[in-house]
């Protein structure tokens, strides 16, 4: 029965069915490549920009009752380029060229901050089941069926046509116009461009306005595909679009468009033909179950990890970058031993006081938050190892943590094993997965590691989590993924305070390990590789081994942290804790506060868990004013501001790549040094006069 219609007709229909989603992937992929070509920014916030224009258009049409032309012009040709110009002027202009990682981190921060900021400013909320309208009247209801096989709607045709025309125009712009060439040149070396008498900053501003307008256009055009207009959908599309863009090696606009269409059509064809064989072949069924929902992610990972042309695409280095001021050294290297000891004693003293107060005075919810802060700090230490010491960015830390938590759940459920032992096994499994993942990745240029790990995280999210031996199975069906707290000898960790002590002990051990690694062979090898890969190799440092080991250690720490988080919550709570989007925020926290130091990670953990309670809820004010009733009326502040605040603070990364904590420490250190110098100068003056 299924073979009734001819294969050729089905194939043609598959192509037509793949075109509409393909056009959407193509639009974003082209915009993504455009941003990368013209600004050198791997713009993960592209989806956020597209979302803003789409939501603004939607809001203007529905809430403000604007005319379609006015709303479109406003959202796409006014607001979208304005956002681009603002981003360029305030942020990206101040970044040294070639700092691909810094730009990536800022783009990640923006992708977290921008949608929330927009929603706060406009008062926009997603409305379930309300399909955004297209540009043309009744765009979703009028169909055209040129081949008599499968009709396409007016909205879909609009998106298709605009995608093709826009790509053609942009390609022509790059190939034939002066500004196209200048944009390319300005990305590679603004100084070189300036030497040629071109105002690089103006070119960059134009680039940003152009790519942002395109983001807005793409956002509005694709909106009718969603039946609820919500920011996460746009972020998820970005990952798919990167796959399409990767087909064009991130440089070719037409190939990115083709990649988008190809991906849409490939998925449609697989969905058409695979089920015909899967009924009779269990292995085809297995592929269908596990691969089809995650095809873009798998394709992206394979492309990045194993497609040679992409691997050759190393980060660009500005030939004049030697002129840039070098990055600053950690204060700890510069300051005297006495100052270091003093700082450490003050820190330990402060933590002891906090610990005492928590153990004696805090209620359950504070104990919970402090415990969570300690566990998140532990997980963030995995980023310290990888990003701070190794200079690599991984966006799959959430998956590694989840592996730890799921392992504990499965082992405890199936074997009744002690969860402490299970946590160690979980950490080892996470370490192994992390290490295996690293082997094909670490030789790639800096920004391919985050992309490939993001692909892995999305794959984990879409496929691995539901596997019976990971997050599924009979038990999960009935009771979810519950985890018991362990009992170690006389200590029953169901007691929250005992558990807190347990967690803090682990945090101390792991922190000591991270510090030891930093000053040992591995840390030094990683520092050398980060400083100069070729020079490191020239003294015998393997460019692969230390990095893979860093991934292994990072995976171990993340897995251990994930297991502890599961134990604390007595449930894995994958969707609330470990999704790829969560990892973004972890990274944002660590990088903003300081990725090189243990303090940075701990402050990140504190920020993650306690910021909301202490600052946004007004508890600190209440405490300062000695009366909760005198807290000003604007408390509690909307939780969205947390994402806006931390997201935007990644901008500080441009000025202080060492993190806010380090730069704060440096400033106070410098102040003290100045004071000391003045005092000594005065002393010697007095000595001279007497």
């Amino acid at each position: 029965m299924l073979f009734a219609s001819s294969v050729a007709e089905d194939f043609l229909r598959g192509i037509l069915q793949g075109l509409p989603p393909g056009a959407v992937y193509g639009l974003i992929a082209v915009g993504f490549v455009l941003a990368y070509k013209t600004s050198g920014v791997f713009n993960l916030a592209f989806g956020a920009q597209a979302y803003i224009s789409a939501a603004l258009f939607f809001h203007a049409r529905n809430e403000w009752q604007w005319n379609v032309v006015v709303a479109f012009t406003f959202a796409v040709f006014l607001v979208a380029p304005a956002i681009g110009l603002i981003l360029e002027r305030l942020i990206f202009r101040h970044l040294p060229p070639g700092s691909a990682l810094a730009k990536l981190v800022i783009a990640i921060g923006l992708s977290v901050a921008l949608p929330h900021l927009f929603e706060l400013l406009i008062g926009f909320e997603p409305v379930g089941g309300r399909t955004p309208e297209g540009l043309l009247p009744n765009g979703g209801g009028v169909f055209y069926d040129p081949f008599g096989v499968y009709p396409l709607s007016r909205n879909e045709l609009t998106a298709l046509v605009v995608a093709v025309i826009a790509t053609a125009l942009l390609t022509a712009l790059f190939r034939f116009s002066a500004i196209g060439l200048q944009m390319r040149a300005a990305v590679e070396s603004p100084r070189m461009t300036e030497l040629n008498g071109i105002r690089a900053d103006r070119v960059a501003a134009f680039s940003w306005a152009l790519s942002s307008t395109f983001a807005g256009l793409a956002g509005v055009l694709m909106a009718p595909r969603f039946n609820t207009l919500a920011a996460p959908d746009y972020f998820n599309l970005i990952i798919v679009a990167i796959t399409a863009a990767a087909f064009g090696r991130l440089m070719s606009l037409p190939r990115a468009l083709v990649g988008g269409f190809g991906l849409g059509i490939l998925i449609a064809q697989v969905d058409t033909f695979l089920p015909r064989f899967s009924a009779n072949n269990s292995w085809v069924k297995a592929i269908e179950d596990n691969v089809t929902p995650a095809m873009p992610f798998i394709a992206l990972f394979l492309l990045v990890a194993f497609w040679p042309p992409l691997r050759a695409n190393k980060d660009q280095v500005d030939p004049l970058s030697g002129v840039d001021p070098p990055p600053q050294l950690p204060v700890a290297v510069v300051r005297t031993r006495f100052m270091t000891n003093l700082t450490h004693s003050v820190g330990v003293g402060f933590l002891s006081v906090v610990g005492f107060v928590v153990m004696t005075r805090a209620d359950k919810s504070w104990v919970f938050l402090v415990t969570q802060a300690a566990i998140i700090s532990l997980i963030l230490l995995s980023i310290t190892v990888l990003t701070g010491l190794g200079g690599m960015i991984s966006l799959s830390q959430g998956s590694f943590a989840a592996i730890g938590a799921f392992t504990v759940f499965q082992l405890a459920d199936r074997t009744g094993m002690s969860t402490v032992l299970a946590a160690v096994i979980g950490a080892l499994v996470a370490a192994a997965v992390s290490g295996l993942l690293a082997i094909p990745l670490v030789r790639l240029g800096g920004m391919w590691v985050p992309i490939a790990t993001l692909a892995f995280a999305s794959f984990f999210d879409a496929v691995v989590v539901k596997l019976p031996f990971v997050g599924g199975g009979d038990k999960a069906l009935i009771e979810g993924t519950r985890i018991p707290r362990p009992v170690i000898g006389p200590w029953n960790l169901t007691n929250d305070k005992t558990f807190l002590v347990f967690v803090v002990l682990i945090l101390i051990v792991v922190s000591a390990g991270v510090i030891a690694i930093r000053s040992g062979t591995l840390g030094r090898s990683l520092a050398a590789l980060r400083g100069s890969e070729v020079a490191s190799q020239s003294i015998g440092v393997s460019p692969v081994r230390p990095r893979v080991i860093a991934f292994v250690i990072s995976g171990f720490i993340a897995g251990l942290g994930g297991a502890l988080l599961g134990m604390q919550q007595e449930n894995v709570n994958y969707a609330g804790n470990f999704t790829p989007y969560a990892t973004l925020f972890w990274l944002v926290l660590v990088v903003t506060l300081g990725s090189r130091t243990v303090e940075g990670a701990i402050q990140g953990g504190v920020g993650f868990s306690l910021f909301d309670r202490i600052i946004f809820r007004g508890d600190l004010f209440g405490w300062i004013l000695r009366d909760p009733d005198r807290v000003p009326g604007f408390f509690p502040v909307s939780a969205k501001w947390r994402f806006v605040l931390f997201g935007l603070s990644t901008i500080g990364f441009a000025k202080h790549p060492e993190g806010l904590v380090e730069s704060g420490k440096r400033k106070s250190h410098e102040r003290m040094e100045r004071r000391r110098a003045r005092r000594e100068a005065r002393k010697s003056l007095e000595g001279a006069s007497s």
């Binding site: 070098p326 520092a527 050398a528 980060r530 070729v534 020079a535 190799q537 003294i539 015998g540 460019p543």
Partner: protein
């Protein structure tokens, strides 16, 4: 000890359609100092990159002490005894001067492993620090050992690169334009230091240089590259007076 230490045979390397190197063969004996000269873009740095494995040559073989190392990755070649400095200085930002040498020393000793790191025994040992400080003193960098690398001048940076390469106790040291960015006196000092160090540890040196004076005074033999081809080789003094060389390299038109 005699015989060929480093034997580079018939190296060829194309970038797209351009032949950066073709049929280049260079032999170095133990303890020998040779120079490679040639105009900009002649393929000198490409040659170094092929010898060390940073680039994979299209043709040719590299032997070190009679062992074919052509298939080895860069760090394996380095561990077998090829040291190197860079034309565009390559330092480890965020590290002190001594750190640069310490990591090289640790890798040479091969005593580092993860377990030692984790148990707190990965920190530099006294004998390692002493070894580094000895080299730093030789190079006149002793005072700067604890300084962040960012605070050094370009000339001092070049010395750090030399020191870092020396810590690997190389059999052959590849020096890529060590005089660029240095003034006359600094160059002379550097050459003198290198001679001293070489005298005590007996390694070979290949020097890529623009500074003819330095090549003339420092090397025994030299090779001349032009557009990726060897156009002359032999005792330095003879080569430098060769009219073909003078035309190609020094731009002198001897008619």
């Amino acid at each position: 000890m005699s015989g060929i230490l480093l034997d580079v045979r018939n190296i060829g390397k194309n970038f797209d359609a351009i032949a950066a190197l073709s049929e280049v063969s260079v032999q170095v004996e133990a303890g020998e100092r040779i120079g490679i000269i040639g105009p900009n873009g002649a393929g000198k740095t490409t040659f170094f990159n092929c010898v060390l494995g940073v680039l994979t040559p299209d043709t040719g073989t590299v032997y070190l002490a009679s062992e074919d190392i052509s298939q080895f990755p860069v760090h394996e070649r380095a561990r077998r005894g090829i040291g190197r400095t860079f034309q565009r200085i390559e330092l480890f930002s965020g590290s002190t001067v001594r750190d640069h040498l310490l990591i090289a020393e640790r890798i040479r000793r091969g005593t580092g492993n993860l377990w030692r790191d984790l148990t707190g025994r990965g920190k530099p040992r006294i004998e390692e620090i002493e070894a580094c400080d000895h080299v730093l003193d030789l190079l006149g960098l002793g005072e700067l050992a604890n300084r962040p690398i960012e605070q050094l001048s370009l000339g001092q940076g070049r010395l750090v690169e030399v020191g870092r390469a020396l810590m690997t106790q190389p059999k052959v040291l590849l020096l890529d334009e060590p005089s660029s960015g240095l003034d006359h006196q600094e160059t002379a000092d550097l050459a003198e230091t290198l001679l001293e160090v070489q005298a005590s540890s007996n390694f070979s040196i290949i020097l890529v240089e623009h500074d003819v004076e330095l090549v003339a005074s420092f090397t025994d033999r030299c090779y001349v590259l032009d557009f990726g081809r060897l156009i002359a080789s032999g005792a330095t003094q003879e080569v430098l007076t060769n009219p073909v060389v003078r035309e190609a390299y020094l731009g002198e038109n001897i008619s």
